[in-house]
């Protein structure tokens, strides 16, 4: 990603038009079409309007910084300000219908910034590709919003058939990808998955190309004797600065099945992972079949968490699966890449046993940390992020202050208004304050779904909130005894299952 410009405005509504027009000019230069330009401009205007109107003390002059960045195939806008670090989503209803039906709106002259913030957020979520809100505690807040140019998305590819294929064409070799392979990789994904692959980066050759040039995507391809790309696999950074790497984006052209292409791709990528500096490698193993889980077992991965309902119901493997009956859950398979034998962690009393067991399977002994740390912090710091293509959200709890329950409750409501189906919250097991709040999070509807080492924290406890969906756990297929035990454990905790 390369930054192109930064502008600063005062918290005065008169400055909004200038900022929006500037963004409009830049967006057009970056090849967004008129609709995409209108959308990102609307999001900026709406966000600044509400921020300036409701998030600053009257008669104070503050700076708002707006960074406009070119990202591969799109534009990202970051707004940072040092206004009142209040959460604008406190005391909001649970549903957009509830907002609309709320009688208090009969008198909008008594503006309620919380409710306006909620509607605003809901709309912005709907018109953009990414929207992240970060509460920085006393340092204010940061909003990131991005939109991708549909013009740079790969067009519809015709499905290949045996008759299209040269009968002499066969697997030839495996090699690491070059940035010039991006278009062929995008085509391979589209011809196999249509537009249903969960990670939509594969449909934007420009984005893929930039990732391949950087170190955030290590990718290998299988090539035929005719030099066509017939398989792909990758190691991906799940987020910037991650200590762990994910293997995935694994695909092979179905016309070349039976030539062990996938095994060869996995072999090369696992070797690469093992020689890297990452602390661990993981996969989101789908649970409507056992194929990926079996690969993980072969390569010594452990089962650490089940993200219930991780992907949208419409995302599926076009040539492998029938239509899914519910959102697809993924089993997090993890393999440590550093030789760590024991760790000292704060453990929630209700889940101590299962956490120790999950770590034990990774070859790590967990000792309970009993050191007491006096919490004097008042403000929590966390981020929330929605992935529209998966219709899920994640909250990363960075610093836990005395306001944490109020803040997480409000953020959960905000995400429910945005109609996300599931929310994952990542809690630091090296932070006593965070672990002391587990039972309170459970009262909000969150429940334990596993651990995830080096994901956002060194040792992460994963909690999940399901937005009023009852999952059929029998349809979640897991292979190993540990995964089966974990699934049963989670099912008992899922508040949407109670009353069975």
């Amino acid at each position: 990603m390369y930054k192109i410009s930064s502008i600063k405005i005062y918290n005065n509504l008169d400055y909004i038009d200038g900022a929006v027009e500037y963004l409009r000019v830049v967006s057009k230069k970056l090849n967004l079409n008129e609709k995409e330009t209108n959308r990102i401009c609307y999001a900026l205007e709406e966000s600044l309007n509400n921020s300036i109107s409701f998030c600053f003390e009257p008669d104070t002059e503050e700076i708002i910084q707006i960074d406009i960045s070119a990202i591969p195939s799109g534009v990202e806008v970051t707004i940072k300000d040092h206004g009142i670090p209040k959460n604008p989503f406190v005391h909001i209803p649970n549903d957009i219908d509830e907002i609309v039906e709320d009688k208090s709106f009969d008198n909008v002259t008594n503006e309620n910034s919380d409710k306006i913030g909620a509607v605003s957020d809901f709309i912005i979520h709907k018109i953009l590709d990414n929207y992240t809100y970060e509460n920085l505690g006393s340092n204010g807040r940061m909003v990131k919003m991005s939109i991708y140019s549909q013009g740079s998305k790969i067009g519809k590819e015709k499905e290949e058939t045996l008759t299209d294929m040269d009968k002499d064409e066969h697997y030839d070799s495996i090699r690491f990808s070059q940035s010039s392979d991006a278009l062929a990789i995008s085509r391979l994904f589209h011809s196999t998955y249509g537009y249903t692959y969960p990670n939509d980066v594969v449909y934007y050759p420009g984005r893929l190309q930039e990732l391949l040039k950087s170190i955030s995507l290590i990718s290998a391809v299988a090539v035929s004797n005719k030099k066509n790309i017939i398989g792909h696999i990758a190691l991906m950074n799940p987020y910037k600065g991650s200590k762990v790497i994910e293997w995935g984006m694994a695909i092979s052209n179905s016309l070349f099945r039976g030539q062990s292409i996938m095994s060869k791709l996995i072999e090369i990528i696992m070797q690469r992972a093992s020689s890297s500096n990452f602390y661990g490698v993981f996969s989101h193993s789908v649970t409507n079949h056992e194929f990926t889980q079996k690969i993980c077992k072969t390569y010594g991965f452990s089962d650490v968490a089940i993200l219930v309902g991780y992907t949208d119901i419409n995302l599926s493997f076009r040539h492998i699966n029938n239509k899914l009956s519910q959102r697809e859950s993924t089993l997090i398979n993890f393999k440590p890449l550093k030789d760590i034998k024991k760790v000292k962690l704060y453990l929630p009393k209700n889940h101590k046993k299962i956490i120790k067991k999950l770590y034990e399977y990774m070859g790590i002994k967990v000792k309970q940390n009993k050191d007491e740390v006096k919490n004097t912090l008042t403000q929590s710091i966390f981020s929330d992020h929605i992935t529209p293509s998966l219709n899920n959200a994640e909250i990363v709890l960075k610093v836990v202050g005395s306001d944490v329950i109020e803040q997480i409750s409000a953020t959960t409501k905000k995400l429910c208004i945005a109609k996300v189906d599931v929310i994952y919250m990542y809690v630091n097991m090296e932070d006593e304050n965070a672990i002391n709040n587990i039972e309170e999070f459970e009262k909000l509807g969150y429940f334990f779904v596993g651990v995830f080492p080096y994901f956002h924290h060194n040792h992460t406890l994963v909690m999940e909130y399901i937005n009023n969906i009852k999952f059929d756990y029998d349809a979640i297929t897991v292979l190993t005894p540990m995964a089966q035990e974990l699934k049963k454990y989670i099912q008992k905790l899922d508040p949407n299952q109670i009353g069975e």
């Binding site: 959308r39 609307y42 205007e45 509400n50 609309v100 009969d106 509607v119 709309i123 018109i127």
Partner: protein, 107 residues
């Protein structure tokens, strides 16, 4: 601008319906609805930006109208305003029409 057509009042705001203008617009709309016309149509053809505050002002008008048996609709939204209206789900609660004439004839 406010006009009358076939017992309907036609309210045509222009510019932006945002955090500054929405409360004033809402007040004025509320005053107009006190006269209990047969119907009220909000012509948004001259609105370039509809914020969440603007949406709520429109919604307040819809509620007052409903409580007083006044027919109520919005019309002539540009593409972005229409996107905001439909994506927010407000089109489930407020009738929308392509043109003012369609609104008058359909209500």
């Amino acid at each position: 601008m406010i006009t009358n057509e076939k017992d309907f009042i036609i309210v045509s705001p222009n510019g932006k319906l945002d955090t500054i203008s929405a409360p004033k617009f809402s007040d004025e709309l509320s005053q107009l609805l006190k006269d209990k016309p047969k119907g009220c149509i909000i012509d948004l053809s001259k609105i370039s930006f509809l914020s969440s505050s603007g949406l709520q002002a429109l919604l307040a008008g819809a509620k007052t109208s409903k409580n007083n048996n006044i027919k109520y609709a919005v019309c002539s939204m540009n593409e972005m305003v229409n996107d905001v209206f439909t994506l927010s789900g407000f089109d489930r609660f407020i009738k929308t029409f392509d043109t003012k004439d369609n609104a008058i004839n359909s209500l």
